[in-house]
Symmetry: C2
Subunit: 747 residues, 2 copies
């Protein structure tokens, strides 16, 4: 052991030289998805960490192409923008609505300026790797670097000689809410709170505070606050020179609260002197933020924190190793996995405390409590991926969901920091948990989960905000169109998916009657099928179809009748659990295939959103048509998932788009959540090695998926030497396989 | 003792019936000074209490004649106004600048409305007595009543049957600062903070937080907050329905911070149901506010608190008993004493803690720590009055002043809640303490006080913000006019007064050289005398007098050259300590008397402000001219001090105007602070009995001042039977006298 310690460094160096091979973490390009509305950010964070420190460049200057206040905007960073106004702490990745993105930390030089319209700067030498981001602020010649532990962001500024400043802007951010408070604890420490919430504007009551403690490692020469002062009447402005302006508070250290406030620290620095800033957060209290700081970063050692963050990422990313493929494909792949490991993220403080769902009572957990459940998105593939790669995290996430039910009485839908935003449709907690359950991940209170599911599936009064139209749904087995833009068909389709899943669970739990009831309900989708149009079509309260009807209405996220973020074409095949039934409904196999194919040929298929993301894989449910899946997946991957800032087609949706690419590149895609199998597609790589968690999967420690032969089309699938029948691979078979050989060729 | 308890009520009732005489407290009319810019308020408070609960009627409606945002405005209440928007907690009385006047508590009925422009109401049945205020809100038929202990306000609302609300508006107030925070502790308790300060706009860094805890005695059916939301761009307002409006937070209980926020409680009440609200404050912390609440009002018993407050007032007011005079004169008199006992007020919490001067470090005191020292005003008579009536309080006030020096390095000038506002002129702490010292009130650290005085008198660099032009003053013995409106002459005159006082103290302490130096400096006023105009006149940096010069420039508070809030006429006789010298300077007695008399005859005399408030008494310094004092004082009292809302001529100046009236009505007025004597004037009353504090004055327990004879002019003054030589009465003589007989007649 002593020898190892003594020569450790040398040995590692030698290893590095011998195996000069790139590690998974080295392939990640955090700029992928930072343009083209991908809404990811290149900020520093650890896997599933609460803290994300992102460059913030979406306000304050016409140098920016996109401004958060000039249009709907949901990300702290846009690759095409140019005007940096600081680092935002705690951000959302890949979402479509503005929230979070606050606690803006900036460094400047020269005369103190606290107006972000003036203190921002263009930047260059931008660099981002997992757990690290840096740039150089052109205006000030300051190098800015960020890294993070789970709940604490660390920023290092390298200053030129002279007077420099560190600013914490608490007035701005992506969130729709304003209002913050700050207090100086000592010359080198401030603490405070800021209001966040009203995500997507759906539930304007879903607001919550973030608490912070900020510490700097150099004694400032000057400290203070600023606050934008209410404009006064003309007479008053003669006396009150601060009215309608940013007022500097240079001689006040107690609590300052307001809409548009901030704190500053000024320094005299030597050339290339560095100052480190640690910003810790908590959603429980300032005291907990401080405890998080002390526990995670007892010393503020930027380089050590950066190294540890990178190591954590490499550990996680190494759960899958790939060989073959181009460097760009590896980058797309590992960046996709990186994006899949951002949300849900941990929520509890180091002492285990977190605010309970909706009640916000302080509770304590022993395991990880997760938050940011964008379930309408993630039930499709992110959560299934977690079951395969990180069943321990999946278990904790499911326990978190059940915890929310126990605290609040309802499962989450689009949960954000223990507030339910009621964004998007359906009852998506059901397929998440049922899918895991069917895959054997079962170490949680399934009775409570079932009670929660049964409740949201059956309660028909207005207390049921998960299924707001459940009275109609239960009565008619469909949701009639009661308001022009009520998304009724989309709601119902999600209820069918949830009910089909619930039927599987009921059956598994021996609740035969429930199973039958929910299975029957899941068939209700057939009500919506319009022979005339060959698509689903809204139904009016009187039972008639909506007329006139345009199945293409609603493309490009425009509102339409009955469908949410899509049109009839984007939803009409979205019944993954009953493709056979759908085929019959639509007039048989030939007609079905032709119509489904036409969604691609005619450009109806929307690659940017969830409802039809399963369409390519549906062909694999129809014997002889699987080649279409393989062809389409290849094309979509090539065209839409690239090693570039625009390399994700639209919002990443907390990793859902990335996971679509990721799993298809691996060669397996979960077409139907709740059905424990995968559609096999042509892998991008020659060899994919999946390392399994032995606590959950004892059949094998790693699965190798090997592609053999040339060509894009699958000719044969062998599992440990035995031919796999068809193009579906059961989960159980997968996780017990040592090697899966996919032989490919031309069509 | 048991008998007393048992029959106590009956006995008291009998006593009341037998001596059906009005008590001093019964004469007080808190509406005096609430119009005509008196800026007193009819709010409920105890003597020298921190808490004042005042009706707030200066915003939100065109029904008001005066609006705080439409003009310079410094009081929460104006008698002529009509639109009530709540009770403000902790107010300033008689000041000329806006500050404090926040924590606005309102009650409403029906639909919840949180915009003060809409929720306010006219009122009727208004009543105010010391420690109590009530009215009826016409719009809601709610009776609103307020009373207070030292640090806690109690409000009682009597509601009609139905849905009613209690609102705490934290967005508005008189103060120029905005920004507050609030948090719900339980259904019946909230806590928070609000920023105050920038008094008079002179020192915009002099801000400080007030902390509060509010408790209600009825469980509400609903609670929540409101906040004015930042207006969004047009596109955003489509989504964010709250943008640019007051948003209600009905489902959020954690910290809310912002510029324009509030909290509400809604109730269902029976007819005539009462709800009591206790609002406790602290300038140290929320925890201390809560401790103040628990200690002062363990039970919220409105009637008991009201009775106790009234009893406290009667105790204090009974220090002087008067007989004779009209009921209105008694009302003017006792209301004046009431106004003299509002500021300075106590500052420390029940546990003794207070924020140190400027550093705001939490310190602890055993005695009372006082705050709100408007010393440029109060050194003239309020503090001398305290020496006579409440030497214990005067001692504690002086100790507080010395404490400020020890904490901050400088004596207070216009101190407000441990911030120095640097408002008005001179070095007024010196005459306050020297006057008390010369009257034998000496139980404080005089060495520290002297060190402080010596410092502000001699330091000539920019650290000396008490005497900002001390370099000039020390060099030239006058302050040249360096800026058009720099008030240089007014500054210098105050320095002379302070230096004369300091000379007296130095002499008393055996510091002969210092005494000589400061006495010589006090003579510097002669530099300013212009023979040409017969007034003081600004001197230019080159030593010449300012030309052209208009000695009347600066009337009506208009800015002028060299004089502050007055003109050359209002300052030219303001050298109380050297009337003989002034007489010589101005060409002898005849000329002097003629010129001084002309200030009254020509209307130059400004009854609304401090600089020339001593003018009537100057005649009493000149043998044979004393009748002029007696005549002028009578006329001024009759014309300007009346039992009506406009019954104080201009700002009461934290009791200074009232004390002018009070002492003149008693028959003794302190012409020259630092010189322990009084000018005897014709008392308004036949008999004035002053009860002395035996801890300080052992010569007699009470002094009777008896007026004998008819007529307005003093013919003789006898002290305990012996003729008093002249019209001055030494303090020592006064406080050892049993009876002073003033014989009056015609001229």
């Amino acid at each position: 052991m002593r020898l190892l310690t003594k020569y450790g460094v040398t040995l590692l160096f030698l290893c590095g030289a011998v195996f000069a091979q790139k590690r998974p973490v080295d392939y990640v390009n955090p700029f992928i998805g930072t343009s083209n509305y991908g809404t990811t950010n290149p900020g520093a964070q650890v896997p599933q960490g609460l803290m994300n420190v992102s460059p913030f460049n979406v306000m304050g200057s016409t140098l920016n192409e996109f401004d958060k206040d000039a249009r709907w905007w949901s990300t702290p960073y846009e690759f095409k923008n140019a005007y940096f106004t600081g680092f935002s702490h705690v951000n959302l990745s890949g979402v479509g609505c503005p929230d979070m993105g606050s606690l803006l930390l900036m460094a400047t030089s020269g005369t103190l300026e606290v107006d972000y319209r003036k203190y921002g700067s263009t930047y260059s030498a931008e660099k981002a790797t997992p757990g690290y981001y840096s740039n150089v602020l052109d205006k000030y010649k300051i190098k800015a670097e960020a890294t993070a532990t789970q709940r604490v962001g660390t920023t290092r500024f390298t200053f030129p000689k002279g007077t420099n400043h560190i600013l914490l802007n608490l007035g701005e951010g992506l969130t729709n809410e304003t209002g913050a408070s700050v207090r100086q604890v000592s010359e080198t420490e401030i603490e405070g709170s800021k209001l966040l919430g009203s995500f997507c504007y759906v539930n304007n009551q879903a607001v919550y505070p973030i608490y912070f403690v900020l510490r700097i490692n150099k004694k400032p020469s000057k400290t203070g606050y600023w606050k934008f002062q209410r404009p006064g009447a003309a007479w008053e402005n003669d006396w009150n020179k601060d009215a309608g302006k940013y007022k500097l508070f240079t001689d006040y250290k107690d609590i300052l609260a307001g809409d548009d406030i901030g704190a500053f620290f000024s320094f005299e620095t030597a050339e290339e002197e560095t100052v480190e800033v640690q910003l810790a957060v908590s959603f429980v209290s300032i005291a907990n933020a401080r405890e998080n700081l002390k526990t995670e970063q007892p010393k503020g050692d930027f380089d050590a924190i950066k190294t540890a963050a990178e190591a954590k990422w490499n550990d996680d990313l190494s759960k899958i190793e790939v060989e073959g493929g181009t460097a760009d494909q590896k980058t797309v792949f590992y960046t996709a996995l990186y994006h899949a490991l951002i949300h849900p993220n941990i929520f509890q403080d180091v002492n285990g405390e977190y605010p309970a769902m909706e009640t916000r009572e302080t509770l304590k957990t022993t395991g990880n409590r997760y938050t940011v459940f964008s379930l309408w998105d993630t039930y499709r593939n992110v959560q299934p991926l977690m079951s395969l790669l990180f069943p321990d995290r999946q278990t904790a996430m499911i326990r978190s969901m059940i915890g929310m039910y126990k605290e609040h009485g309802w499962m989450p839908k689009w949960e954000l920091y223990s507030r339910e935003s009621y964004t998007m449709d359906g009852d998506p907690a059901i397929p998440v948990i049922v899918d895991a359950w069917m895959k054997g991940i079962r170490d949680y209170d399934i009775d409570a989960a079932y009670a929660a599911f049964y409740k949201s599936a059956t309660v028909t009064d207005s207390s049921n905000r998960i299924r707001p139209d459940n009275a109609d749904y239960v009565k008619y087995n469909y949701v009639p169109l009661r308001d022009s833009f009520d998304n009724s068909v989309s709601h119902a389709i999600e209820y069918y998916v949830a009910d089909w899943n619930l039927a599987q669970l009921a059956k598994s739990l021996g609740k035969t009657d429930d199973a039958k009831m929910f299975a029957a309900r899941a068939n209700g989708y057939q009500h919506y099928y319009s022979k005339e149009y060959g698509t689903f079509r809204p139904i009016l309260p009187n039972g008639d179809f909506l007329s006139p009807f345009d199945p293409l209405m609603g493309a490009n996220f425009e509102p339409n009748h009955g469908f949410h973020e899509g049109n009839a074409w984007n939803y009409s095949f979205a019944i993954p659990y009953d493709i056979d039934g759908l085929v019959k409904l639509m007039g048989g196999k030939k007609n079905f295939v032709q119509r489904l194919q036409s969604t691609f040929d005619k450009g109806y298929f929307d690659v940017t959103n969830e409802p039809d993301m399963l369409y390519p894989h549906i062909f694999s449910e129809i014997a002889g048509e699987e080649w279409r899946t393989q062809k389409l997946v290849k094309t979509i991957l090539q065209e839409h998932f690239t090693n570039s800032p625009g390399g994700i087609p639209g919002n990443d949706d907390t990793g859902t788009m990335s996971t679509w690419a990721l799993m298809n590149m691996m060669g397996i895609y979960p077409l139907c959540p709740g059905r424990p199998d995968y559609t096999v597609v042509t892998p991008v790589f020659d060899k994919v090695t999946i390392h399994l968690n032995p606590d959950f999967y004892q059949g094998t420690s790693q699965i190798v998926i090997r592609k053999e032969g040339q060509g894009d089309y699958i000719k044969a699938i062998k599992v440990d030497g035995k031919k796999n029948s068809g193009y579906k691979l059961a989960h159980d078979k997968l996780v017990n396989a040592k090697e899966i050989v996919i032989t490919t060729g031309n069509r």
